[in-house]
Amino acid sequence: MKNNNIILYAAILIFGVLAPFMLPAFKVQLSILCILIVLALTWNIQGGEMGYNSFGNILFYGLGMYICASVQVGMFFPLSEWTESGGEKTFVHSPTQFFQGMAFGLLAAAIIPTMVAGLIGYAILGLRGHYFAICTLGLGVAAGEISGGIEIIGAGQGFTTPPFPETGNLESRGQFFYFLSFLVLVLTFVAVKSVYSTRFKLVLNAIRDNEDKAEAMGIQTMKYKIIGWMISAFFCGLAGGIMGGLVGYIDSTDVAFDGREMGVFMVLMAILGGKGTLWGPVIGATLFHLFKEGFWTYFLGWQYVALGVLIVVIVIYFPEGLMGWLREKYPERFGEVVDEADRKAQVELK
């Protein structure tokens, strides 16, 4: 079992490194896939393990995007003049400036959302159930509307992120962003996996199953909830920062705080794969991305209709997701002890 796992991870790692050379036409798609998986994994920390269904993790994603781009520009040029000039570039980043800016930008894009999560966590995570869901929904939309009114980051007309140096060389731009997002994906996966193997995950599950009881058992639930949210925010911010550079253009409600797309996608991907599992979000995001690309390409215009129908169908008929379905079918594979007589009795009952 252990050996198999190592082979699997090695295979995925090798595929990940070789992918841009094997499938050169799909580099951008693969980078987006990495980002989507990161988002699904981070959502799963609260939504799946902790039972706090957040619609507002898009807040950290959007924050990361704006912060990364602002730092990248602001380190070398006046920010307000950059956004004012819009598409007509008066300033050009040299390659060193670009990469330096990106590095510091991503650092800030990870740290600031984490701090924000920590600061608002105490207030927001005290809400339960649907109050939490609606509150986070409001938080995401409010952030989008408010950032759309702030002049220095482009207000309604958007914010063009610094273009990749050596323009024209699309090959290296694609590779750069692919490896960056793949690196973040690996980091996220390793971090989430190692976190899940500690007592921390058990605490989160206890909070999901019965928060009051967990508190009565002497667990400081608030502390763990905030830490869980901060971990999410850290990787969400990173993902947002990379996505901003990849898309090349930030708009407050259509790209950054895009509750109608990314905000729903991350919830849907985690549920599709099976929330509360490690691999569920990964599989869910991959399937979703394939589905989405198919629809976005062949049924352009109808994609949101399909998305709406997909949400309703998944939520009503497959609330446990793919992993949940597999778990019910093959419980032994998931390390659950099954009593044969018990199972027969259940089949007869059905």
Binding site: I134, G301, V305, L310, I311, V312
Partner: protein
């Protein structure tokens, strides 16, 4: 920041008046949400999209030459059937489930409606011009569009009518019984499935009325739904479930808040301030409740 409102005090009268008339309309939508929340324990994210759909009915009546004010009669009838159909298709499968499932399912419906309306009616901001004219008050310094007055009066009529209906009619009694205890109502012979369908239909019909009024007094656009959902959710949690006078008062309060935010912060922050207010109210509520819990300890 535009501080014109503090230099010209008469604008405060204008903002308050607009806000109160607007708030009455919000209260009508919130009333529908409170009804279905209380009876079915569902938070309908598609509430605002039902409002917009109702608005398009009035708009099409306007386009085909019928006076849009008649939309307040036609829209609820059509929307009642839309609501019942929606219940039969989707909602009846999520009624007894986890709250998050109903939120997500109605979120999906909301996205679906938004996009279907976008296809069917186009992405333009439209309004149904009622040509009611305007009244000038206070020596011509405060304008009062008659359509706003009309919308407030119609909202009040419908709200009072529904309250009376809930008190007196057989279905109203069945709905109230189901809200109190669905299982007991079932045992006593109430067809709860029918009650749920009717409740969802009545909610949709209220949204239809409100939508027709929105189309007459303001503008409608396929993507404008979510703010109406959030407003009604906020009004219900401020007032508390089952507190109808509270819904009316907090609706008006929200309307006034919005108008003042519009003047002071600027129109671009209007929707943002509504959503931010929601977050603040929820957080305030959380601290108040946790204090109560501490007393218990």
């Amino acid at each position: 920041m535009d501080l014109l409102i503090f230099q010209v005090p008469i604008l405060m009268v204008q903002a308050s008046l607009d806000g109160i008339l607007l708030g009455i309309l919000f209260a009508l939508i919130a009333y529908g949400m409170a009804l279905q929340w209380g009876v079915m324990n569902i938070i309908n994210i598609a509430q605002g999209d039902l409002v917009i759909l109702g608005g398009y009915i009035a708009y099409f009546m306007y386009l085909s030459g019928i006076h849009p004010a008649l939309g307040v009669i036609v829209a609820p009838v059509i929307m009642y059937f839309v609501g019942v159909g929606l219940y039969k298709l989707v909602i009846n499968k999520v009624v007894d489930r986890d709250l998050f499932i109903s939120i997500l399912a109605t979120f999906g419906i909301s996205i679906l409606f938004m996009q279907l309306m976008n296809f069917a009616f186009g992405a333009d901001v439209v309004l149904a011009n009622s040509e009611f004219g305007t009244t000038m008050l206070f020596n011509n310094s405060v304008t009062l569009p008659n359509s706003k007055l009309f919308s407030a009066i119609i909202s009040i009529i419908f709200a009072i009518g529904l309250v009376v209906y809930m008190k007196k009619s057989k279905l109203g009694r069945a709905i109230r019984a189901t809200a109190q205890n669905a299982r007991a109502a079932k045992i006593l012979g109430v067809d709860t499935e029918k009650v749920y369908a009717a409740t969802f239909g009545i909610n949709a019909a209220l949204c239809g009325v409100a939508g027709a009024l929105v189309a007459i007094t303001f503008t409608i656009h396929p993507y404008m739904g979510l703010p109406y959902t959030i407003r009604s959710f906020m009004i219900v949690i401020i007032a508390g479930l089952g507190n109808l006078p509270g819904v009316a008062v907090s609706g008006m309060g929200l309307g006034v808040f919005e108008e003042f935010a519009d003047y002071i912060l600027g129109t671009e922050f209007r929707i943002g301030s509504v959503f931010l207010l929601l977050v603040l109210i929820l957080v305030y509520r959380r601290f108040k409740l946790s204090k109560k819990r501490e007393y218990l300890k």
